[in-house]
Symmetry: C2
Subunit: 469 residues, 2 copies
């Protein structure tokens, strides 16, 4: 492809994206294809010669679109939001165009320094503790691809600290014990497994009726483990769980963690961005106790995936766990101590210039665009809750302080299951099924960039209509 | 930003990228800034209101460009290639515009099915074993972000297999032992550490004069470990090491791995893509013994980072190690066995539609563009070797069958160090220092998309000129 071809096709693709996002409501929210359909519409074997690029773009419509479940659709109320925005898309494009590697400061200084500054800007915008700032004595932040990676990095830093670094040499994880509730994200158990902490050493701490961790139960478990000669090392508090958006009591857990020398990780992947709005800053309560923290602009701030903010108050432990320095990665800048090499803050070596999309988004909209969107989503969720409360067939099964509402039919699990299945099959909205303490529920997650009252109203009408059927 | 603003700024940015890539030679290859310079040119605190987007784009030139080390510069001969191409940039843009999550088949079927097909297309194009194909009885492939993640996934699958899955429950890694040469990538040691295999249980297998693993030495180490009651479980062969591009003997190692029940991972992150050209298909020698394999289109095929192809012949072990199924991720498609959920093939949960950039690249250029580029790079490397051989001050320190040449000054380490430092400081080319069996060497890695004879000639003239000084 020549540069002129790129200009031509690039302009076409930019317009295609604008058309797509402006017209996304015309599509069914969920793809209607069956397994194998998309592959069957493409050649089984690779082309032997170049094709006109117009054919490729045409196949976006012909082949790809039928296989898309539209996360940017305003009636997408499934899983969690993954909202993008126009400035963020341009940030991703700029990063792809520059094509640089940010594994070390020296491999492209701007890639590192813009990222560090964005982490500090977000620390301010979110009102996070000063000790997470890169300019603090012991902390700092980095952009990870996902909260799963942040969780794993946190476990590895904790593992390093509790063993005084011995873990790097001995690999002995057999006495380490971790703690979370049953409501914590699946990435917690997965991260622990990866790090050599088997599920036998993940203690499920009981939760209260609002699905929040019971600190007294945590302390009881920790003490029993200590008495058994084990080494409690890591506890995860979630601020906004995946299933019901429950909030663990961080300060109370933090006091226990301090007393017993546990690393406290706070996972606010979904909800943390809500703290942009002053009235939701309670999301941060207790963070002054956290050793590490993560939240995802790629969920609720219009910065397209992947963009997870990972902060730690103990960068020595993180670097101890993740630094490896072969000769071909040495640099004078790094050895001067004045430059950050982010490869030592993450699992992979390579890294894209992800900070550009965050920078573009913040500058193009200030924090104001995100705050307005967050407020709208929360208000719509409360509106929906009011509507649900007027219908005797439904019940709300968990607190809903932000943008997730979990409902079920009083008629029971199979009725609720059938309702979700039939509603999703219409393509008019998309919800996610979950099971909360044994009972089936329908999660209504309100977080797409363009979701407005009419979409929430239509979703509610759909649920009411199908519940009657 | 309105859709119309996006069209306007998007067109501008597309043109900016074309201008940048067409004019990249005007820049010094390496950024000339000092630590802190880039940050100091930006506001320390976030903006309180939205800014005109034209300002943001202007800051790409004013702030970002001085901090860029130009991986797309034809005189970039440092580290490894990270070449991009116009179709791949458009693929990344399309993925950002669609903004979908590919964690499960059901979350956007096209994201999964195009990826599976691309992995199979690449299996054909590279001439890889059939048992890596998704249509095989036991294998399959997935796009990872980087070879480090592929390495880690391979270690986890091996760990699962050798413990019969017990690892997920007990987390006991204390008897497991892994093997590689000193020339293996730093991601090997890092991946093992993450998985709870300390460096005390990573055996460094001696290598021969060409830096390739000595199979007899491997067998000796494995037998000693077995005799000591340990459990050898994973061996990594590299096809194209980072320091010198050495090639471990996979078939000989594979026979030993089979005999002793080790998982054989083959890391061809840099060189594997060379197998697109039939005359370099020897890179694949012995792969029929491999349990897993990875290579990076983001290094040598014009598909911008991140795009690592990870194949396994034993998907049961991989899924055993990495599957976690909470209620909110269940789906009928997955339970039917007809759909792949790639979240279970990787470390993170979330995933972008990375297959688009591979699809766009293959269709826009066939494999022919990549093959022509690979052949040119290899020929230029051999040409450079011929030139170096005529200069008595230099010596070539390792075999150079492909696109990496390692040279040093006979005058010794400090002379070679000084040469690299002075050459890099000119901004006219960029090389990487390494240490090979104790001796300093200059790596000349020839792999940028537009590198041609005049760039290699100029790099050689630069080295000759500064060696004289």
């Amino acid at each position: 492809m020549t540069p002129d071809d790129f200009r031509l096709h690039g302009h076409t693709l930019i317009d295609w994206i604008a058309d797509y996002l402006e017209g996304v409501e015309q599509y069914p929210v969920a793809s209607q294809v069956q397994p194998g359909d998309i592959r069957a519409s493409l050649p089984e074997h690779p082309p032997t010669a170049a094709e006109p690029f117009a054919n490729v773009l045409a196949d976006l419509d012909r082949v790809v679109m039928p296989g898309i479940t539209h996360w940017q659709h305003p009636s997408f109320m499934a899983y969690f939001p993954g909202n993008s925005s126009y400035p963020a898309i341009l940030g991703e494009l700029a990063a792809a165009g520059l094509g640089v590697q940010g594994m070390s400061w020296v491999t492209s200084p701007a890639c590192t320094e813009v990222e560090t500054l964005m982490m500090d800007w977000m620390q301010e915008l979110l009102g996070l503790p000063e000790r997470f700032r890169s300019t603090s004595a012991t902390g700092g932040g980095v952009i990870h691809g996902s909260a799963s990676e942040a969780t794993l990095a946190s476990i590895l830093a904790a593992r390093w600290r509790v063993t005084g670094g011995d873990i790097n040499h001995t690999g002995d994880t057999t006495r380490l014990v971790a703690y979370s509730t049953s409501q914590a994200h699946s990435g917690i158990e997965k991260g622990l497994r990866i790090a050599g902490i088997g599920t036998e050493h993940l203690r499920i701490v009981p939760h209260d009726a609002s699905f929040a961790m019971l600190p007294a139960e945590l302390e009881r478990l920790v003490e029993a483990d200590v008495a058994a000669g084990l080494t409690p090392f890591w506890v995860c508090c979630t601020r906004g769980t995946t299933s019901t958006m429950a909030f663990d009591p961080v300060a109370a857990v933090g006091a226990i963690a301090q007393r017993h020398g546990l690393w406290l990780h706070v996972d606010a992947a979904m909800s943390g961005i809500g703290a942009l709005a002053p009235e939701f800053r309670w999301i941060n309560d207790g963070l002054e106790f956290a050793d590490s923290y993560c939240t995802n602009p790629h969920k609720w701030m219009g910065v397209n995936f992947d963009c997870d903010l990972f902060y730690t108050a103990d960068r020595t432990a993180l670097l101890g766990a993740l630094s490896i320095l072969p000769e071909y990665l040495r640099s004078a800048a790094a050895e001067s101590g004045k430059a950050i090499d982010y490869r030592d803050w993450q699992i992979p070596l390579g890294r894209r210039f992800r900070a550009l999309k965050l920078w573009f988004t913040i500058r193009a909209g200030g924090a104001d665009d995100a705050i307005a969107m967050i407020r709208r989503h929360v208000a719509l969720t409360q509106q929906l809750a009011d509507w649900v409360a007027t219908d005797d067939r439904f019940q709300i099964v968990a607190p809903h302080p932000l943008n997730l509402l979990c409902v079920r039919l009083k008629a029971g699990d199979s009725a609720t299951d059938a309702l979700i299945e039939r509603a999703n099959a219409t393509g008019r909205a998309l919800f996610t099924r979950t099971v909360i303490d044994g009972a089936v529920a329908c999660r209504v997650s309100i977080g797409a960039r363009t979701t407005d009252e009419r979409h929430v109203r239509a979703a509610w009408e759909l649920l009411k209509e199908l519940a009657a059927g």
